[in-house]
């Protein structure tokens, strides 16, 4: 009576023991599983390797475009440096976030989103315009109320100046007057590190109030044009540099992924061979014991 009552609990315990023991004893059943995993890892390695090669070739072009656009943007901004233009404080600001549509490039998009959140935090006087789907998805979760515009379709190729102009036009057409426009992009420091950095594009008001403005004889009618043009210049610079960062980050990410896949492949091949040997040894032992046992009879 007592033994029978105790039995269910015992059998449950046994079952639990048996379940936990199964994955440990790598035996006949898992051999095929290991083979399958090995195959899929090999395929993934092939894909990541190809993506790395594609990113490398795109990177050289992107970097060339970046260095060219950087001198372009810096030259355009030199006017404001000479005039010592300062952004107007406590006025409405627009942040333009330059990310892209494509992922699989490490943490550069989330780094940009994080920087945006940090800058926006505690400052309700900020609106956000986003270039690229990735940062849009991330920021629409936290700062959806502040987004006024989003652009998609960037990142397929090296950004053109026509892209920058169209974006600048759309920003200029926004109903609200922004005292300053901050363009946030990933600054290319070296192939390993990028830093979210803002560039300022000033409003007409800010330009006229800058201390050394009188040194330039600028007509009021021309000023609006200059402001639009410099916004497009800065955007072009930011887009090109962001693109180069993305390609370089993708190259690194894919390089790491291929390396990890290689590690996993070697680990799984060893495991596979060992399991195979164990299975063969087990079978041999079974045959031999069977033979000797039948001999005795």
């Amino acid at each position: 009576m007592l033994s029978r009552a105790a039995r269910p609990a015992l059998s449950v315990g046994n079952a639990a023991l048996a379940r936990s023991a199964v994955p440990n004893s790598a035996n006949y059943a898992t051999l095929r599983e290991i083979e399958g995993r090995l195959k899929s890892i090999r395929n993934i390695e092939k894909i990541t390797k190809t993506m790395k090669i594609v990113a490398s070739t795109k990177l050289t072009r992107a970097q060339k475009a970046m260095t060219e656009s950087r001198t372009y943007g810096q030259t355009s901004n030199q006017v404001f440096e000479e005039a010592e233009t300062k952004p107007l404080e406590d006025k409405k600001t627009l942040m333009v976030i330059c990310s892209s549509d494509k992922g699989l490039c490490g943490g550069i998009h989330s780094g940009l989103s994080r920087a945006t959140r940090r800058m926006v935090e505690g400052n309700s006087n900020v609106d956000i315009a986003i270039v690229g789907e990735k940062c849009k998805a991330q920021l629409s979760r936290s700062n959806a109320k502040q987004i006024v515009l989003s652009f998609a379709g960037v990142g397929k190729d090296v950004p053109t100046f026509a892209d920058a102009q169209a974006i600048a036009d759309q920003i200029c057409l926004l109903p609200e007057e922004y005292a300053s426009v901050k363009i946030l992009y990933n600054k290319f420091i070296n192939a390993q590190s990028y830093e979210p950095t803002p560039i300022e594009a000033f409003s007409e008001e800010a330009i006229t109030q800058s201390p050394n403005f009188a040194a330039y004889e600028i007509d009021d009618a021309v000023l609006a044009n200059m402001r639009e043009y410099s916004l497009a210049n800065s955007l072009f610079w930011a887009l090109a540099e962001g693109h180069a960062c993305e390609q370089s980050a993708r190259r690194n990410a894919m390089d790491n992924a291929s390396k990890n896949a290689g590690d996993m492949i070697s680990k799984f091949t060893i495991l596979y061979n060992r399991t195979r040997q164990a299975v063969i040894t087990g079978e041999l032992v079974e045959i031999i014991t069977g033979a000797t046992a039948s001999e005795d009879m």
Binding site: S150, A162, D163, A221
Partner: protein, 75 residues
């Protein structure tokens, strides 16, 4: 100083884009194809209101129509 294109409601950037397009189109066949690739723009955009994304529209068309509207206002 007044500009003819300003009266037509076109922004400076648009004016530049059009001028650049004209220059590109007047190039010789070989370099033209290469140069026209630099003038391509295929962006879509959406306006947001109260945390909701609006409709996705083609940026080039939207810019053109917005400027046409702007021109009608200034006249």
């Amino acid at each position: 100083m007044s500009f003819a294109w300003k009266a037509a409601g076109i922004t400076y950037n648009r004016y530049l884009a059009i001028a650049a397009r004209v220059v590109r189109r007047s190039l010789k066949e070989g370099p033209r194809l290469q140069a026209e690739r630099r003038g391509e723009m295929d962006l879509r955009f959406a306006k947001w209101q109260n945390g909701k994304q609006g409709e996705n529209k083609n940026l080039g068309d939207a810019n053109a129509s917005a400027m046409a509207e702007h021109a009608a206002e200034t006249k």
